[in-house]
Symmetry: C2
Subunit: 269 residues, 2 copies
Amino acid sequence: MTTRHVFFVSDGTGITAETLGNTLLTQFEDVSFVKSSLPFISTVEKARITADFIDHIAASDGQRPLVFSTTVSDPVRAVLRNCNALFIDLFDTYIHGLETELGVAPTHAQGRAHSANSRKYDARIDAINYSLEHDDGQSVRDLSKAELILIAPSRCGKTPTTLYLAMQHGIYATNFPLLDEDLEKPALPKSLHGFENKLFGVTSEPERLSQVRNERRPGSRYASIAQCSYELRQAETLYRKLQIPSVNSANMSIEEMAATVLHEKGLRR
Amino acid sequence: MTTRHVFFVSDGTGITAETLGNTLLTQFEDVSFVKSSLPFISTVEKARITADFIDHIAASDGQRPLVFSTTVSDPVRAVLRNCNALFIDLFDTYIHGLETELGVAPTHAQGRAHSANSRKYDARIDAINYSLEHDDGQSVRDLSKAELILIAPSRCGKTPTTLYLAMQHGIYATNFPLLDEDLEKPALPKSLHGFENKLFGVTSEPERLSQVRNERRPGSRYASIAQCSYELRQAETLYRKLQIPSVNSANMSIEEMAATVLHEKGLRR
């Protein structure tokens, strides 16, 4: 297997450069990539040091690295573009086409994509705090403030998905466990009555749920395939009965679950 | 102010298309964008419905929308490319150059960028659970497992940053509050002795901290400028005395704080 050095260069956090680069690199499974992030490269001087470093790696590897860049400044980019690498820059590629299309000149402001200076940012932080305080049915106060309430038996992945929705999308998301007493009827916990339109169910596969529960309580009845299978079946019956939309978490990432929930509930992103 | 419709189209979650598009659009502050995400467009049939919808918007707006796409499949992309829009596709643009550079054909596998099928994904979920259980000094058990411990006076932004580091980067991150009894000396809480090399300090500005605390406890001594100022000064003295690196959270997003901490501590990303 060949190995390539990859650099994510940015004048800000590097999040966009990493997302762009990593998505493209998933298409080349047979190459082993050694990845480095170089954030906050916002001046010509820092760009020179970065370019020297990349040139040094190119020389010692005997092959040029891949550089994914999202630097906004033309002079910074001019320095980086000259290093011995396959240089892929988001702004080089697209900004001129957008300028022509929109008939407006770009601002060249650096570090705008992931900054704290917006009402949207404050709303995200509020949403994270809300989700943490209401996690796993801890608090039923202010449940009317929730935009979304995930419900599921224990350990189906409610909490990470809830936090992701709050953190990335600023959704006032929370979650509520379905306990034995709810599942045996099956019926909604009393605290959720009146909030039916905010509910989204999570399911899983008995084998997957048993595996996750066994990490917490090895060999317990709680983690047995029989118990997991029973709880999931009852939860699915409840979702069907009350027409609560649901998603199976067994083979999905939190990003995929979040995208599914937002899409199906028509929530803003 | 002009208004443009923007569509983020993807065969997966849409995260990459949104990140790419939003970063580029930050450069055009005087245009108002109406944004929609269209995830999971993975078949030619779904692509046809999507293209019809975009054409419909173009006709009713009297100007063509912007489409940021990250669809992997050539037939899907061929349908989308024909709609009446400025069509920007990550794979169209870059995949051929990468193929030539790497000498390897792309796999054309869909939805790979944010899937659950990797050891890295499981590590991220473990890290989220670890961070939640150890948040705000809740548990000192397994503190040796932490890769990073953020310390700060109350409400400087430790918790959201810690969760972000766990969620996005799979870092076993936790945090510990500096209380009055620690700050008056100033000295580290006893539980942190022996973990000095994992510490990262957070500071803020008195005005900003007072504002955040006032949202919780309006008019309290805890939220007063004098108290905030005192606590921050003592914390900064402590960081200097023990040579603990630190970051000022007053004007930074959690993404910027995380990038700074990872960069300065040399943690893997």
